[in-house]
Amino acid sequence: MEIVGNLNTIGYGLAAIGPGIGIGIVAGKTVEAMARQPEMAGTLRTTMFLGIAFTELLGLIGVALFFIG
């Protein structure tokens, strides 16, 4: 059996796992914290976007390597 196709696709698929789990944890924990302390919601949301921005970057680097490789 012969398999044809681009290995980059699989590579990016693997690279998306980590940030996916990470963003899930960040968003989930923020919801948890907001439910506990609704008055902190504004600050928590800002911090959540910061956390997501850092986590998401790893996934996006995967896309960059997809184009380079």
Binding site: T46, F49, L57, L60, A64
Partner: protein, 231 residues
């Protein structure tokens, strides 16, 4: 002069026109146009300047944060406007220019507010760490602050825009193929791809606003780290 430069010029012109129309006759009792502009600027002021930087320092860096936010937003939003259909932020150099602006701003802020010596000490030798740790911590911080920060800002925005554009091209390209070239019942596959394309257009609107927000928020956070007295 290619399409991306044209889109860039057009977006900038529209942005300037909107602000000029809103603030042409600025008065104490705002009219309708001025009201919208004031709400938009007020959003930047409360979200970034006051919340992250605090009232005093926030006021000083509000102009650069506001122009960054609205500039990126205007250039992002062209990605989903029909007939333009490309965001100038999808080529690396445009977000990189914004990232250089952020880089210069947070280093300038460190120099201006706490002085060069203290800025480098706070950045490279954060306090509360046992001395031998500095051997590994300082090089990491050096690379992180002066190399990774601007590059990651630019990369994040570029790649978000590239990926969004590719998704839209895939959806609408598939729709085009199914409707015009497929035979018989295969044409029906065009319907889900068309719906997918419309949904992704709305998603791209969200991403455009969110990426402008994240870029400005990170810049504000970097400025805040530069100007803080202690870590």
């Amino acid at each position: 002069m290619n399409r991306i430069v044209l889109v860039k010029l057009l977006a900038t012109a529209v942005l300037l026109l909107l602000f000029w129309l809103g603030l042409r006759r600025a008065s104490l009792v705002p009219g309708r146009g001025q009201n919208i502009v004031e709400v938009a600027l007020g959003f930047v002021k409360t979200q970034f300047a006051d919340e992250v930087l605090g009232e005093k320092i926030g006021r000083r860096y509000l102009p650069v944060l506001a122009s960054m936010f609205f500039g990126i937003l205007a250039l992002n939003i062209t990605g989903i406007i029909p007939l333009l259909n490309i965001s100038p932020n999808a080529i690396f150099i445009t977000p990189f220019l914004f990232a250089i602006l952020a880089y210069v701003t947070f280093i300038y802020a460190g120099f201006k507010e706490v002085g060069p010596g203290k800025f480098f000490k706070n950045s490279l030798f954060p306090s509360g760490v046992p001395a031998p740790i500095y051997i590994i911590l300082t090089p990491i911080e050096l690379i992180n602050i002066f190399l990774v920060r601007p590059l990651s800002l630019a990369l994040r925005l570029t790649l978000n825009m590239i990926v969004g554009h590719l998704l839209l091209v895939l959806c609408f390209g598939a729709t085009h193929f199914f409707f015009l070239q497929a035979d018989g019942l295969d044409k029906l596959f065009g319907i889900p791809t068309l719906i997918g394309g419309i949904v992704f257009t709305l998603f791209e609107l969200l991403v455009a606003v969110l990426q402008a927000y994240v870029f400005t928020l990170l810049t504000a956070a970097y400025i805040e780290q530069s100007v803080s007295e202690e870590h």
